[in-house]
Symmetry: C2
Subunit: 123 residues, 2 copies
DNA sequence: GACACTATAAGAGCATGTCTGATACAGGAT
DNA sequence: ATCCTGTATCAGACATGCTCTTATAGTGTC
């Protein structure tokens, strides 16, 4: 019998994130920070398994979130090292984060319901 | 003061699904069914708020999941009504569903951690 | 000088979700 | 008979989000 190759299957979780934006808002709620540090900080949130999210994606989200008015960005031309763009959360960003928590709670309910149904069906 | 328009913002949950594939597998675990009925059955899972998923997407997933060997499809040329394609879960599909439950449990942990962090930060 | 690490960012490609439209059958209302 | 609604399958197009690759550039180490 030959085993199915599920390495590239979404069931292994490769396509299941979508938490970067609320994570960014959450990290910036603690204080202004620049892209690279934000990615490192997200990795330290328990449940993210120490995994730094793709920084490329983080930069893209920072840009789009600044465009939407959720963040304010400002360039720090430091004396040493490359220029860093520091982001700060806005009142709109805080509002968005509050909305995110409601949405994530709903979402967690759906997942819990699915898991419960799976457990009762699969035996 | 002008309020931010968060209608199209992902924080309202519009971009946060990704549960259709495990839901399909779960429904088919109960017995073979065709696309339209699968969508209706998914809507009845508690936590999906009675909302039928986009049937167009369901059909697309059924096709791709059949290609991967997770499902077997067969046409029912019924005496009345249009032809229906009935799908049945395969052993590979069961394996995939088992993997999905592990993945979703991990995912739920991440969301829980995010929510906990948000609650402690936002006060 | 080569290499690793930090830092920002654009581009391409893929998965997923949604919307629109095409096709077709069935039943009821006008 | 014609229209409308509901059932049923499916393709095309578009937007969003994630990943991978690549480019640029400064810093520190060997």
């Amino acid at each position: 019998m030959h085993t199915l190759d599920l390495v590239d299957c979404p069931c292994t979780g490769g396509t299941l994130d979508r938490l970067i934006q609320p994570a960014i808002l959450l990290v910036l709620e603690e204080g202004p920070l620049h892209g690279y540090r934000i990615a490192e900080r997200i990795a330290k949130i328990p449940g993210f398994a120490g995994q730094k999210p793709d920084v490329s994606g983080v930069y893209r989200f920072l840009k789009s979130m600044e465009r939407k008015g959720l963040l304010n960005g400002s360039w720090n031309v430091s004396e040493s090292g490359p220029a860093r763009k520091s982001y700060q959360i806005t009142p709109g960003g805080r509002q968005c984060l509050a909305e995110w928590t409601k949405t994530l709670e709903e979402y967690r309910k759906s997942i819990t319901a699915l898991l419960r149904a799976a457990r009762s069906t699969m035996r």
